[in-house]
Each structure stands twice: as C-alpha cells, then as structure tokens.
C-alpha cells in the first residue's frame, strides 16, 4: 500500500488529477505531496517518500538530472518518470537514469486509468530491501527461465513482476514474445540477461494482466534469447566486457561459489570522460573568445567534473563548485527567485566566476592582478555561448 509519495511536475492540473488517483492506492493515512518548483523539491527530504513521480522536463531543470540526484539519496525508492513524449529515446533515457517506470503523460480518462493500474502494479511489488520470507500466500520461488518459456509458448500477453532477494524488475511478454524487460538502471535485452541470473535464476514472480504495451526493446525471438541464456549458463555467467568497473552490490554477500552472480557491472557512465581545453571543437563554439583564465572547469548537476583546463585537483574543484551551487540553491529558495545565473567572488589574489545553466555550472579562476571586469563579463558571455 502506498503511504507517502511526491509528485514533482510543472503541470498543476495534471498534478491534481494524479494526486487524486494516487490517493486511491493508499488508505486514509496516505499522503501525496505536490511540488511545482524543482528548486523547492531539492530542499525536501526525499527519504520520506516511497514513490516519486517527476516530469522529464521541469521548470529550469532537467528531470533526468534531478532523478539522478535524488536517486543517490533514496536508492530504494520507486521513481516514475513522466514524459509528454512516449518515444523510444525518452524511455531508454528514463530507465538508464534509474527510473523504475516510464509513463507517457495520460491525456484521456482511459489512459489515466491504465496509468494508475500500471503504477499500482509497480507499487504492489515488494520493496527491494525486504528480504524474502517464506510467508504463507507469497509467490513461490520459481525458475525464471521456465516461467518465461511457458508464458511465451502459451502465446500469452502478460507482465511478469520479478523479485529477487535484493532487486525487482519487470518482463513484458506480448503475444508470446519477450517484448521488453526493465529494472532500475537498465532496460531491454541487457536487463533480461541480468534478471535471468538473479539469485541463480530462482526468483519470485507475480504475473499480472498486461495493461499497456511498452515499446519493443527486445527484438530477438524468445527461443533465441533463452538459448543465449542457457549457453551463458554453461560457460558461466555472462559478464559483458566493457569499460565499467565491477563492484559488489551493497548488502549482498556472496553466498557460495557462484560469486559472480552477486557481482554486477557498474552501470555505464552516462557522462563522457573529462575533456580538457584547449579543445578546438569546444573552445570555438560561438564568436566570443575564452578570456585568459588561471583554470576553469564544468560540473554537471550530479557534481561530476565533465570538462576542465589547468585543473590541479579535479575532485576538490568539482566538490567546491557543487557545494556553492547547492548553497546558492538554498539562497534562491529563501529569496523566492529563480536559480542564480552567475556569481563572482572577489579575493585579494584570485577572482572566481561561476556561471550556471540547466545542465551544470562552469567555474573559472582568475588572477586578480591581471583581471579586469571586462574579462569576467567576457567569461560569462563565453559560457552562455557554450550552453547554446
């Protein structure tokens, strides 16, 4: 049952309708908060919410970036990303950013009812942090590959809600074919491959009526897909070779020799590796030349350094920029204004300029002795050109 949820959107009417719908999924104690201002939402304690619905596009902020930010604070929370567009790219981006569910904003009563059903289905699955108990009435542990094969052979259209000891995800079967698979942080064929190995393939599954047909992310026939899985079982778990690092998922202890089953590849980094100026492609955007700076860098909304030049201690630089950025978000809320556009700090030896856009903050350090106001202004203009 739903106890406490947050709707984060810039669409007031939709928020009210969704709030009424979500209230029906709970009881008299259920609380659904609505926040129209993403900056204010950043001041809330997200840990209090079991479910957060947020738009992909929010006023002055990218919903995907905000999702990444909040997800870090509430890794076990359920996140639904709502978009005006149901295209494949948006959907893939949503799941890659860690959404548990992607919802195209319902525009008709029928679509709204289907959306509520889907949310209900998502939320009636057990929380991922609850260890499996052999409670009476709970779905038995089954072999996931067998269930998938049986459903496909029957030509079913069904949503399989899969729960392992520490994770949960969904497999969509439509007219006897595996159509789509998803769990937090991954979707498509890769998600299916992972899920089939959860807990050595022995999981709990709840089959529910398919209330909506997701875009197809798995193209190969189910037989071929399952054969691939069987082969990978023979040769050992399928650990794709990528540049990602391997880590032990928090809270999981390798139970036996199948140690790799509890080791997962770190999700691929969405950001590009830091690039360093002077980079001809980056430094020639626009007509305004980059003024002479001691050093400068850019961090994204999650505090990662994504560009830089003459950056002596990248981690510290990224940290201080993010720190100032968050502090100025607090100030903006207190002043009831939009987020800051740029900031100048004047010191006896150094001057600094921070310029924010909706994807991050650029930060430059100037030598006071050699810097004029014109150069600082030029840097702000240069940053604006880079943002475009």
């Amino acid at each position: 049952m739903l106890h406490h949820a947050l709707i984060l959107t810039s669409h007031r009417e939709y928020a009210q309708a969704m709030r009424q719908g979500l209230l029906k999924l709970g009881d008299a104690q259920t609380r659904i908060d609505v926040e129209l201002d993403p900056l204010r939402a950043m001041q809330l304690a997200p840990q209090q919410y079991e479910l957060i619905l947020l738009d992909t596009v929010l006023d002055a902020m990218d919903g995907l970036q905000l999702l990444l930010l909040i997800k870090q604070q509430v890794p076990a929370g359920k996140f639904i990303l709502v978009s005006d567009s149901g295209d494949e790219a948006s959907r893939a981006m949503a799941y890659q950013s860690g959404a548990d569910f992607f919802l195209e904003r319902p525009r008709t009563p029928e679509a709204f009812a289907l959306a509520m059903e889907a949310i209900k289905g998502l939320f009636t699955t057990s929380r991922v942090d609850e260890p499996i108990q052999q409670d009476e009435g709970e779905a038995p542990v089954v072999r996931i590959a067998d269930i998938v094969q049986m459903r496909c052979l029957s030509g079913d259209s069904v949503l399989l809600m899969v729960r392992s000891q520490y994770q949960s995800g969904d497999i969509f079967i439509f007219r006897g074919e595996i159509y789509h698979a998803q769990y937090s942080g991954r979707s498509g064929e890769a998600a299916f491959h992972d899920m089939i190995h959860w807990d050595g393939g022995l999981v709990r599954i709840k089959a529910v009526k398919l209330t909506h047909i997701p875009p197809r992310t798995i193209e190969i026939p189910y037989r071929q897909l399952l054969e691939t899985v069987e082969k990978s079982d023979v040769h050992g778990p399928d650990i794709p070779q990528t540049d990602g690092e391997l880590y032990v998922v928090s809270g999981q202890t390798p139970p036996d020799a199948a140690v790799l089953s509890v080791m997962q590849e770190a999700p691929p980094r969405e950001d590009v590796a830091p690039t360093f100026f002077p980079n001809p492609e980056l430094s020639t955007v626009g007509d305004i030349p980059l003024p002479r700076v001691d050093s400068h860098w850019k961090v994204n909304l999650t505090g990662e350094l994504i560009e830089g030049s003459q950056v002596a201690e990248p981690e510290r630089c990224a940290f201080i920029t993010s720190f100032i950025y968050r502090k100025l978000a607090d100030v903006a809320v207190a002043l009831e204004v939009d987020y800051f556009s740029h900031m100048t700090l004047l010191g006896p030896h150094l001057q600094q300029v921070l310029v924010a856009d909706n994807m991050g903050v650029r930060h430059a350090v100037f030598d006071t002795a050699w810097t004029t106001e014109d150069q600082r202004v030029q840097y702000v203009k240069w940053c604006c050109e880079q943002s475009f």
């Binding site: 720190f323 100025l328 100030v331 900031m343 004047l346 150094l350 350090v365």
Partner: protein, 115 residues
C-alpha cells in the same frame, strides 16, 4: 546598528540588507519587501559558509556578487561579520563602488569595518 540600517534602507534600488556578526547574530537589517529577518540571517550565514569554504580551498574572497535574473545579491565580509544587500538591478564594479561608498561610512559609524 538600527540607525545605520534606517539609512541603508533608503539606498536606491535596495530591496533588503542585513549584517550578521561572525557569531551568526543578526545585528541589523532592513527590507523594502517581504523578506523575513530569519531568511536574511539564513542567506547571510549561507554566504559566510561559501566564503569559508573558499578559504579552505586556498581561494579566499571577501566579496560576492550573485545574479538572480535582474536582481543581485551582494555580500562583503569583514573581521566582525558579513554585510549583504539585495538589489533590484544588475550590478557591475561601478555599482559596487557606489553601493559601498554609501554603506561603509554608515557601518563604520557603528564600529564595523568591511574589507
């Protein structure tokens, strides 16, 4: 300090101003808009934290100018505390000079010297 802020409140384009001591006490404030003293103290303290963090990074600064659209938050730290002013206009170095040419004598009369 009240007398100083009565005059500071008359500065053209000033929405609010405050002085917070190094100990975090709101020693004086004025507002020509609905900004509460609590909010002013919170903002001033946040500015102190930003300056303090920069000192820790070996990039000490005494003055900050933050643009929020067409409005600007200006703050300057002295040994006894931090003065901040919220202005209803963009600023440049000339505006800063003009602002502090009016504020400094008023604060100095109260025994406060900014950098």
């Amino acid at each position: 300090m009240n007398k100083a802020f009565e005059k500071i409140a008359l500065i053209e384009g000033l929405i609010a101003a405050a002085f917070v001591s190094a100990e975090g006490k709101l020693s004086g404030w004025c507002a020509n808009s609905v900004i509460s003293p609590d909010n002013l103290r919170f903002i001033a303290e946040t500015c102190q934290v930003i300056l303090s963090a920069n000192r820790a990074e070996q990039r000490p600064a005494h003055t900050g100018i933050v643009a929020f659209g067409n409005r600007t938050l200006v703050f300057r730290e002295g040994s006894s505390g931090l003065f901040m002013a919220y202005l209803d206009s963009p600023t440049n170095d000339a505006v800063l000079e003009w602002l502090f040419s009016q504020v400094n004598p008023l604060l100095e009369a109260e025994g406060v010297k900014l950098e």
